[in-house]
């Protein structure tokens, strides 16, 4: 199922080992999806179908869960994952302008990845660094008091 390259096959094997080791298949959908996203980086259609077959639940149910929780993503993340905090503090201090600048520079919408796979963009709610608002992150690295004109140099750091 869904195997086209050896690397993919290894990932499916790993996921299958994880599922087979579960004491029961019932009520384990979210845990399995969590693991699957850890292995694949995201949850493409083929992986969801694989999970449905293995857990013997309808594919629609798997998709229902994946589409409900914002944690799960069906799109591959970029090498650099850029997150802009849109929590209250960041929002009132102009996070929206930062996000807008990133949108323009990367030519993608939040939730998307650049065609070259280098950057993905998303907004999130409060990273707990309100004193530094507005905040954006590249991977785990936090940038504080960001203004739109800082975006270029932050992106330039990503090589």
């Amino acid at each position: 199922m869904g195997c086209c390259s050896g690397a993919d096959q290894e990932k499916y094997d790993e996921l299958k080992r994880f599922i087979d080791a579960l004491p029961t298949k019932q009520g384990e959908l979210i845990r399995v999806l969590h693991r699957a996203q850890g292995i694949f980086g995201y949850l493409p259609r083929e992986v969801q179908v694989f999970v449905a077959r293995e857990l013997e639940v309808p594919v629609s149910k798997v998709y229902g869960v994946v589409s409900f929780y914002s944690y799960f993503t069906m799109k591959p993340k970029g090498k650099y994952e850029i997150s802009v905090c849109m929590g209250t503090a960041c929002y009132v201090r102009g996070a929206e302008n930062v996000l807008e600048e990133l949108r323009k520079k990367l030519a993608i919408e939040p939730g998307e990845t650049t065609p070259d796979g280098k950057f993905s963009l998303r907004s999130l709610r409060c990273v707990g660094a309100c004193g530094l608002a507005p905040v954006m992150m590249v991977g785990d690295k936090v940038y504080g008091r960001v203004t739109p004109d800082m975006v270029d140099s932050i992106l330039a750091e990503c090589e």
């Binding site: 259609r45 639940v57 309808p58 629609s60 998709y63 409900f68």
Partner: protein, 588 residues
């Protein structure tokens, strides 16, 4: 049994522990409006999301209003179902719902049958105070059988419940969240790429116009009826006659066969035939196959067991997608609809001396999966389909109304020969257990050479949805049969077979709709009342009992068809015209 005492609108009532306020009110004859709630215990459907809040009531000593459909009764509870506070809340809830609902009621396929429309009317909604962002951007999904207009969805989730709980098909699930929340297929693919079987049970339970049957064939049919160069032939399935009357003010369970024939003739069909004839034909082929498989089985030769019926197109879709490794089990006999089409476009066309393209074959079915079946590529010759249009009972009722015929005042009429004659065995095809009983009537006489005196096989007669099993004695042979209706029950049987067929079943009848075709997705809406379905079943049994001929092989026109045209059942021309193949389908 623990009983609970409570007071509703000043009236004391005692109900079983675990009942809801709604149940208790019903016992008192107090009607509380509902919208999302749907409970049909006969088919194992309990949709109780309490999401619409239309059924809210006031409960003394409770801070907020309670949804009657999901609030269990408690000892000493005092409930008020119609206080000003309750009514205001219901109106507000409806206004909010309507603020996010299209206002095209005049042209909506559900108009007049819509629960949202009814309850809004009842609550006197005349203006909507709420405006703002509304409506999902979900694209219209038009499949050959079902049309999904998710802009009209009110998220009651009845469709999801019937698709998953009752039918175990799993085509639909709630997806996304907030304004984007919608009941959808996997990955929001169109229905024809999903595991949907087109059984249409979702259409039956949808309270609004979000899920409706695709009725687009009617327009093309009208053109053909108006075209003098076309010969338009119609045939009506057994379950249609048992339900059509409901659309014209007859009580449920009134058989309107003669009046239906009269209406079809007045509409302008050139020949009015009966699918029951084709049902008799189906039995000739299926009973032959059963007898052949049984003989091999007795001799110990390898043979696929059990033989499963293949009349139901939603069941065929189900096994093709869910159990593709068992496609050797269903009988290769075509369904009555497709046998009719095949015979009409060959035998009957030749009799008339016309080309098949000149003949337009229309079937009236209780089923919307039949629309899909009619356009399967297996059922065409030189790209000309055996059945041109398959319309539902509901659509036929609409057509009769458009023509302004009052069914009640039409004089009864008879089907035409030669494809209009049928036996009682053909009639009961429309209810659960009917196909098996019809097959046994014929198989018994063929295998024993004796006359079957009592034609009713009570042990497999059932009115409800579920599984029935019986060991039937045919001469010295014990034949283990099972009858299942509802695809959830079909799944149970398939899992048994997968586990090695421990009951040694030889023959299994499956109907996708709980209770059989009388509960098809194309029938008049039952509005959650399974009693209606039972009455329709009784109407078919009544018609069977009144028939002089009750065994398919005794139908003189069937005998003549084999003599003149097809030879022996199951072989040669009969096999070529009346049998088909199945193919595994990969769907999500």
């Amino acid at each position: 049994m623990d009983m609970i005492n409570l007071i509703i609108d000043g009236q004391p009532v005692q109900v079983e522990k675990g009942s809801t306020i709604l149940d208790a009110a019903k016992k008192l004859g107090i009607e509380i409006p509902t919208l999302c709630h749907l409970h049909m215990h006969e088919i194992g459907l309990n949709n109780q999301p309490a999401s619409c809040r239309v059924c809210v009531v006031e409960v003394e000593k409770r801070r907020n209003l309670a949804p009657a459909c999901a609030t269990p009764v408690a000892e000493g509870m005092v409930v008020h179902t119609n206080t000003p506070k309750v009514l205001e809340e219901r109106r507000t809830v409806l206004e909010l719902m309507l603020s996010d609902h299209p206002k095209d009621c005049l042209t909506c396929a559900k108009s007049g049958e819509c629960d949202l429309q009814k309850v809004s009317e009842k609550m006197g909604i005349r203006k909507i105070r709420v405006t703002g962002t509304s409506q999902s951007s979900y694209p219209m999904d038009t499949s050959v059988s079902i049309v999904r207009d998710m802009n009209k969805c009110i998220m009651c989730r009845r469709c999801e419940t019937v698709c998953n709980q009752v039918q175990t098909v799993g085509a639909l699930s709630g997806v996304n969240r907030g304004f984007e929340a919608v009941v959808s297929t996997s990955f929001q693919v169109p229905l024809n790429e999903s595991v949907c079987t087109y059984c249409g049970q979702c259409v039956q339970v949808c309270p609004v116009g979000a899920l409706t049957a695709n009725a687009s064939a009617t327009d093309r049919l009208m053109e053909d009826l108006a075209n003098p160069d076309k010969i338009v032939v119609v045939n009506t399935a057994p379950a249609v006659r048992a339900a059509l009357g409901e659309e014209f003010g007859y009580p449920a369970g009134t058989s309107v066969t003669g009046k239906m024939v009269a209406a079809l003739r007045k509409i302008g069909f050139d020949y009015v035939f009966d699918t029951d004839f084709a049902a008799d034909l189906t039995i000739m082929e299926e009973a032959t196959e059963l007898a052949e498989r049984l003989q091999k089985y007795i001799k110990g030769e390898p043979v696929a067991m059990p033989l499963m019926t293949s009349c139901c197109p939603a069941w065929v879709n189900f096994i093709e997608t869910q159990y593709p490794e068992f496609l050797d089990l269903p009988s290769s006999a075509k369904s009555p609809q497709q046998m009719f089409g095949a015979v009409a476009k060959t035998y009957f066309a030749e009799k008339l001396g016309v080309q098949r393209e000149q003949l337009v074959v229309v079937s009236v079915m209780p089923c919307i999966a039949k629309k899909y079946e009619a356009q399967r590529e297996e059922f065409a010759a030189d790209q000309n389909p055996d059945v041109d249009y398959s319309i539902s009972t509901h659509e036929l009722a609409g057509l009769i109304k458009q023509f302004n015929f009052d069914l009640k005042n039409l004089a009864e009429d008879d089907f035409d020969d030669p494809l209009g004659e049928s036996t009682g065995a053909g009639v009961i095809f429309g209810k659960t257990g009917g196909v098996m009983e019809a097959a046994l009537r014929t198989a018994y006489e063929w295998l024993t050479g004796e006359t079957l005196k009592k034609v009713e096989f009570e042990e497999i007669r059932s009115t409800s949805s579920g599984i029935r099993k019986a060991a039937v004695q045919i001469g010295g042979l014990t034949v283990n049969v099972a009858v299942a209706s509802g695809l959830g029950n079909a799944r149970k049987i398939m899992e048994e077979i997968k586990a090695g067929n421990p009951d040694h079943l030889h023959a299994v009848e499956i109907m996708a709709c709980p209770g059989g075709c009388v509960n098809g997705g194309g029938q008049p809406y039952h509005h959650g009342d399974f009693g209606v379905i039972k009455k329709r079943q009784a109407a078919l049994c009544g018609e069977d009992a009144e028939k002089k001929l009750r065994k398919s092989h005794e139908n003189p026109f069937i005998q003549k068809l084999y003599e003149d045209y097809m030879g022996q059942p199951g072989h040669g021309k009969a096999h070529e015209l009346l049998h088909t193949t199945y193919a595994a389908k990969e769907r999500v």
